[in-house]
């Protein structure tokens, strides 16, 4: 087939596309994924009965903002990676900044605590399951975000997959806080981050396999 014929084939009767399509799909994936994540948390794990009580503690809101900020940064990065030739801007740089800020808070908390209580702040009661439960809650978000990414045009596939994974992990962690009884900064700095990194790694692995176009 001659290239000129293909050109005329493509331009004949070409419909204008809706440029808001990607944003609509992203929001749909976010809403759908987060709803299923919530159902998993509320149905399988049960909501934390002390939630209302804990909402009056400052650390509760530090935890919520930590997950929300990482979620927004990861999501913005994924959205930008889905468009060819778009600069990434500052969002990806914000992720390590937020993570380091939580580590600093963790160290400050540990230093101010007598040594015999430090272990409890690090391990809490749920350290063994926390990363895996976050990964579980993040799973529907990861699937939804990768599905949208596939319909767009990422050119850095591994990064695009990882960004979907990190966004899913941190938004998943935000939903998981409705169940999780842990509020100590050292706990969050370690186990929440590990939980977010499971879907990130999975996304980075899946990226080159699922996202080619």
């Amino acid at each position: 087939m001659k290239t000129e014929d293909l050109v005329s084939l493509l331009s004949t009767g070409a419909e204008a596309v809706d440029l808001r399509l990607p944003s609509r799909r992203w929001l749909l994936a976010l809403a759908g994924g987060a709803s299923i994540a919530f159902l998993l948390t509320a149905g399988l794990l049960k909501l934390n009965p002390a939630l209302w009580h804990e909402a009056s503690k400052p650390m509760f809101w530090v935890r919520e903002s930590y997950c929300a900020v990482l979620g927004v940064l990861g999501f913005v990065t994924a959205v930008r990676l889905a468009r060819p030739g778009l600069r990434l801007g500052l969002a990806p740089m914000g992720i390590p900044v937020a993570v380091i800020a939580m580590w600093v808070l963790a160290v400050v908390t540990l230093v101010a605590t007598p040594p015999q209580n430090q272990g409890r702040l690090i391990l809490g009661n749920t350290a063994g399951v926390c990363p895996f439960l976050i990964a579980l809650v993040a799973a529907p978000l990861l699937i939804a975000l990768l599905w949208v990414m596939r319909s767009l045009a990422p050119t850095r596939l591994r990064w695009a997959g990882a960004a979907c994974g990190f966004a899913a992990g941190s938004i998943g962690a935000l939903v998981y806080t409705l169940h999780c009884p842990e509020l100590a900064a050292p706990f969050l700095a370690i186990w929440y981050l590990l939980g977010m990194l499971i879907p990130t790694t999975l996304g980075a692995w899946l990226g080159p396999r699922l996202l080619r176009w």
Binding site: M1, K2, T3, E4, D5, L6, V7, L9, L10, S11, T12, G13, A14, E15, V17, D18, L19, L21, P22, A82, R83, P84, G85, L86, L152, A153, T155, R212, W213
Partner: protein
């Protein structure tokens, strides 16, 4: 026409970078044109168009080279060097036949492309001729072109 100008520019871009693989130029060029068409919803009007096209071209080029480096880059016949000048003139023909690929598509994709894209009929007429709804015609074109791009890629 946007696509005509794009074709010229992309062809010279690819020729420069695929000097040793002249046969690949038109294949990749057509793959690229389909990609630009099928992914046009990912263009952000606030962004320079050149940056968008450039990123797609680079992606497709790297994808091709990576695929080849896995397989047969070392088995290319040496005499291909001779063809650089021959193909530089008018190698506007790709190695595969889109018409043949088109025949492999299901009717609900093939007919809309056949009528609207090749014969130049309107979407409304095509809907009447095929008994499909207008939106089904549009979806058929869209999915059909995506499927074509997929098939071309698998040949490459």
């Amino acid at each position: 026409m946007f696509l005509d100008e794009l074709t010229v520019r992309l062809r010279s871009y690819l020729r420069k970078r695929l000097g040793g693989l002249p046969d690949e130029v038109e294949d990749l060029l057509q793959d690229l044109l389909l990609a630009v068409h099928n992914k046009r919803h990912t263009y952000d009007p606030k962004q320079p168009l050149t940056a968008w096209v450039q990123a797609i071209a680079r992606y497709k080029l790297v994808d091709l080279l990576r695929r080849r480096s896995r397989g047969d880059v070392l088995t290319d016949p040496l005499d291909e060097d001779d063809q650089v000048f021959a193909t530089a003139n008018d190698a506007a023909e790709a190695q595969y036949d889109v018409a043949k690929l088109l025949r492999g598509l299901p009717d609900r994709q093939r007919l809309p492309i056949q009528y609207v894209k090749i014969e130049g009929a309107s979407v409304t007429d095509t809907a009447a001729r095929t008994g499909m709804s207008e939106s089904a015609v549009k979806v058929g074109i869209h999915r059909g072109l995506k499927a074509l791009a997929e098939r071309i890629r698998n040949i490459g």
